[in-house]
Symmetry: C2
Subunit: 247 residues, 2 copies
DNA sequence: CGACACTCTTGATCTGGATCAAGGAATAAA
DNA sequence: TTTATTCCTTGATCCAGATCAAGAGTGTCG
């Protein structure tokens, strides 16, 4: 499997390293050097990629699938602190100890780099570091928006905000407008959503049915949400205007 | 006043640019170039340094005092998303619109740089960018720890965690151990703490008196907290071991 | 000095979301 | 087909923290 991926991606055409995650500006030579040290790895849905406290000697970029970062307390409480979609980055240069669990929510393919050669390239290719800096600041902005959600929003607002955020991250990049009716496949289980939003699974479920009864969303099965009027949902999110969670 | 600061800091001896915040590795020449474009500005306690939505053409580093980043919703709800102590950084290269209020909690002195020349130096002095990347990742880690607090901790745990975090950030850097009894001057009002923790002012107040009655802390007036046994406080924070919020 | 404005504490009550508990629906295993 | 198993929904009840309300300091400005 991994071998197949390697063959398939020799030119890195579908790899975020090429496209967005790390080096959109790389020239051919630089891309070659990145290609030389990268390797792919896949994980099955539900699999834990790495545990809190692990020593991690790789950094990676999500190629496909959805993964989460979660921080836990020993009594079982869990808080999601990162939702990783394709092109998102895992790990940080300069630190080896991981302080949260990384879990594959769906089947996940990572494009990984051993820390040492990657950090070397970071020094030698300046715009790679620049790109990483932008990504870190983007994540920081997202985290701060998320803090507003966790600290001050009601359960209903949290659900609405999450839906908007998922729409923005999965639909907008491909150029669709926010105004049209949207069909959304949720990448997360009710439990994962609870950990995302700081709620219990029961409250998540109840808010979904409440929003459905109020005509804000429609449900197809458990994982598909249809948003007939995005402005209606936006009005439920507690954000004045754009919102921008994780945007 | 600003003039006085400029004189006083010509060699940048007390400026974080020199010490920790941006360029611990700068050689003399590089320091000169940084000095050439920096300027100091002071703000009085309570003053708003910049508003959500402002176009900001400077980045800055906190020299002295305490400032906060807060994100608000129009109905008055506020969530603090950043607590800035000396050496912390404000603003981000590559973005001009600020998406939170920056407020001086105490009297604050900033060491500021106009965006253009600063970004230029960022390109020309690679380890400056490297330093900024480390700072961004540190803030991201802090934000994630903070998200765990906001999403999953009880009011009592929140207060305890905050106290530990303030101790770590204000005492530990000067080399004191965490084991000894500690006297702590709170930089924040009850309201600011509420916004920090996602609580109301009343709940903050009640938890302080509860912790005092239980012998976990002692209070001297409203702003001074004495922690007779740090392990006791640590046990109340909900963190297994180190905690590390904002550390 | 009193009047006012803040900030903080404390009490009484309310409520949103947690907890406890019992099914339903879908998929897989036997 | 029956029997688990997993994930989700719904109901009943409870409680931590919010809200409403009333002072208590403390400082400042006339």
């Amino acid at each position: 499997m991994v071998q197949a991926m390697l063959q398939e991606h020799v030119s890195c055409s579908s790899c975020p390293i090429r496209h967005r995650a790390v080096c959109a500006k790389c020239d051919t030579d630089e891309l070659e050097r990145l290609n030389a040290i990268k390797f792919y790895k896949t994980y099955a849905a539900g699999e834990t990629i790495a545990y809190q406290g692990d020593e991690l000697d790789v950094v990676a970029s999500v190629v496909s699938g959805v993964a989460t970062l979660e921080r836990g307390i020993e009594d079982g409480r869990m808080q999601m602190v990162g939702l990783l979609l394709p092109s998102d980055f895992i790990g940080r240069p300069g630190r080896t100890i991981l302080n949260y669990d990384v879990t594959a929510v769906s089947d996940v393919t990572l494009c990984s780099f051993h820390r040492q050669p990657f950090e070397q390239l970071l020094i030698e290719i300046p715009h790679l570091q620049e790109r990483l800096l932008q990504m870190a600041f983007d994540e920081l902005d997202a985290a701060r928006e998320w803090m507003l959600l966790l600290g001050r929003k009601t359960a209903r607002e949290k659900i609405a905000s999450m839906l908007i955020s998922v729409v923005k991250r999965t639909h907008l990049p491909e150029g669709q407008s926010l105004g049209t009716a949207t069909r959304l496949e949720l990448p997360l289980s009710r439990e994962a959503m609870g950990n995302f939003l700081g709620l219990t699974i029961e409250t998540v479920s109840r808010q979904f049915t409440a929003l459905r009864k109020d005509g804000v969303i429609e449900l197809e099965g458990k994982r598909v949400v249809i948003i007939p009027d995005m402005d209606l949902l936006l009005a439920e999110s507690g954000d004045d205007d754009d919102g921008g969670l994780l945007a």
